[in-house]
Amino acid sequence: MGGAGSAGSLEGRLRDEEVTIGDLKTEIEDRTGATVELAPEQEMMTINMGPHHPATHGVLRLIVDLEGEVVRDLKPIVGYVHTGIEKSCETMNYWKVIPFVERMDYLAYFSNMEAYCGAVEKLIDMEIPRRAKYLRMLHLELNRLHSHLVWLGTSALDLGAMGVYFYCFRDRDKVLDIFEMSTGQRMHTRYFQIGGVAEDIPSGFEKKVRELIVTLNTGIAQYESLLDRNEIFLHRTKGIGIVSRERLLELGVTGPLLRASGDAWDLRKEGGYLAYPEIEFDVPVGTVGDGYDRYRVRLTEMRESLRIIEQCLDGLPEGPWISDDRKYVLPPRAELSTSMESLIHHFKLVTEGFRVAPGEVYNPVESPRGEVGCFILADGSSKPARVHYREPSFVNLQALRDMAVGEYVADLIQTLAMLDPILGGIDR
């Protein structure tokens, strides 16, 4: 029997009795008479996490090097749900691309739409009506609530707080009800159009949103009371996964992750797109940038979103909700039976789409996960020559290694949950 065989039979003893590596080494050497090298690296173990693991929030695969329970190295492997969305966009007319880009980051579909529609509007130099801006902001913030509620529920579930998950999904459903009311769809609404939004809000919408604001304000207080005094939650999040602000900036991290480390960077404030400069809201920041700060920042962001929604409802201007530029926007349904020009415009737009003069545009927007940017290259035809998304999840995922190395493997789950990656966005 060789040395390896002896070691194999001793493995069981290692577990049953308290045999150290040193004992094992002497015993094998005594029995075989050979010198055995058991370097510390032999205690390193490489394990595979995912891709089908509920705690990876999608099909994310991690190759983790463990020394005992401590993570020493980590490599994310992505691409399992790559569907070639950017390639498909190149085969579609400008306005037919919208449903594709929505499905990248499936929790932030309004942000994706805003990045795309805003980019096309920059390309064709179109100013959208004020009412459309407010309706877009309203839906973007509802979308942020929706995304953060899903994040909070699933992350709390990862840390063993089952109740929070149910409460969050209960409230998330109410947000989706509102989407259904204004757009007809619960997810992937295709509500933003080039030039504005598809439809005005129905009657009774405002009342329902105001009810939601009240419900969610108490709801957020509920989640806080469930988690903020939860000993297990605090122990598992405080002081874990800290990365310095400078390093995060080097890695291109944006969104709540960056704000949790104390950097008040928010494109809604800095970029000033839509009508955000007219709205009063605060940018919550953390102090140390651990898991707990990330949780606090997102929770406070939800409160700020509610404030923005309230101001959008109060200041909602009257007027058209979509531009009346017939070159780019479908004419109203009623006009089709009376106006020949409308019929021609409608026919041209539906069959061929509109042409865009050559040029390139990058349009960044603050999504629930950070800067989502849409780059469009127009070549003069009615189809974009290149649509590229700067996905916040894709870029932020690079910070996972810095966050997790040196921590316990159990904390890796927590760190990943607080990173909030959406694999549909990463893989596109």
């Binding site: 992505v78 691409g79 790559h82 070639g84 950017e86 390639k87 498909s88 190149e90 085969t91 920059k122 390309l123 130099d125 900036l249 080097e250 890695l251 291109g252 991290v253 960077w265 800095e270 970029g271 040029g359 390139e360 545009v361 990058y362 960044p364 800067e371 940017g373 780059f375 290259l377 020559a385 290149r386 590229h388 700067r390 894709f394 870029v395 995922l397 690079q398 893989d427 596109r428």
Partner: protein
């Protein structure tokens, strides 16, 4: 956002220290861009990042672009951002397609498809010569790591000096550069396990 004269100033200043580095500027639809010689890209990015008064310290995004049928065919775009002034600046490095030059060459040998790569994804010796090359900026901006891998994956642009240049979204053994404009959509058969009976060994 630097306007058109501001861009000309930047061009003049960079070209004083690195002659010929910036070829042209463009200011279109409120978007400022520098068009840069691809061989000097790291010098330009370093200058923009570290020169006092410029300080474009944040790399927001890197895009790969295929300008087919225009020449030079490929480009790598760097979306730089100055966070203090909220100014964005795009740096475009244009790249020629060595495969097309090879094909047009007088040697008469048919050029292979430029998509060859070893199963581990690292391009093999002869294939990389047919791919456009540019220096990697991961040392300057660590965030470019995944994004350069993505461009390599989709366009076959080789980033020299990248620490881990493998495919990222496509499978490691994939052949071809799917985001190039001459790569067909739906050009490959969809394979289902139910076809095992009629098409044994489909997974090979």
């Amino acid at each position: 956002m630097p306007d058109a004269p501001g861009l000309e100033l930047i061009l003049a200043e960079i070209n004083r220290s690195q002659p010929g580095a910036v070829i042209d500027t463009s200011f279109d639809r409120e978007q400022a861009a520098l068009i840069v010689d691809a061989t000097q890209i790291i010098g330009v990015l370093t200058w923009l990042k570290e020169t006092p008064g410029q300080e474009y310290t944040f790399l927001a995004s890197v895009h790969g672009v295929d300008y087919l049928p225009n020449l030079p065919r490929f480009a790598v775009h760097y979306e730089l951002l100055n966070r203090e002034r909220y100014e964005r600046l795009r740096v475009k490095a244009l790249l020629n397609d060595p495969a097309a030059e090879h094909e047009a060459g007088a040697d008469g040998t048919p050029a292979g498809t430029p998509g060859g790569s070893r199963p581990d994804g690292v391009p093999s010796g002869t294939a990389t010569q047919l791919l456009p090359h540019i220096d990697s900026c991961v040392g300057l901006f660590p965030t470019a790591n995944f994004q350069e891998r993505e461009i390599y994956d989709f366009f076959g642009v080789v980033f020299d000096g990248h620490p881990d240049l493998r495919r990222i979204l496509m499978p490691d053994d994939y052949v071809g550069w799917p985001q190039r404009r001459d790569f067909p959509v739906g050009g490959e058969p969809v394979i289902f396990t139910k076809d095992e009976v009629t098409n044994p060994g489909w997974w090979q």
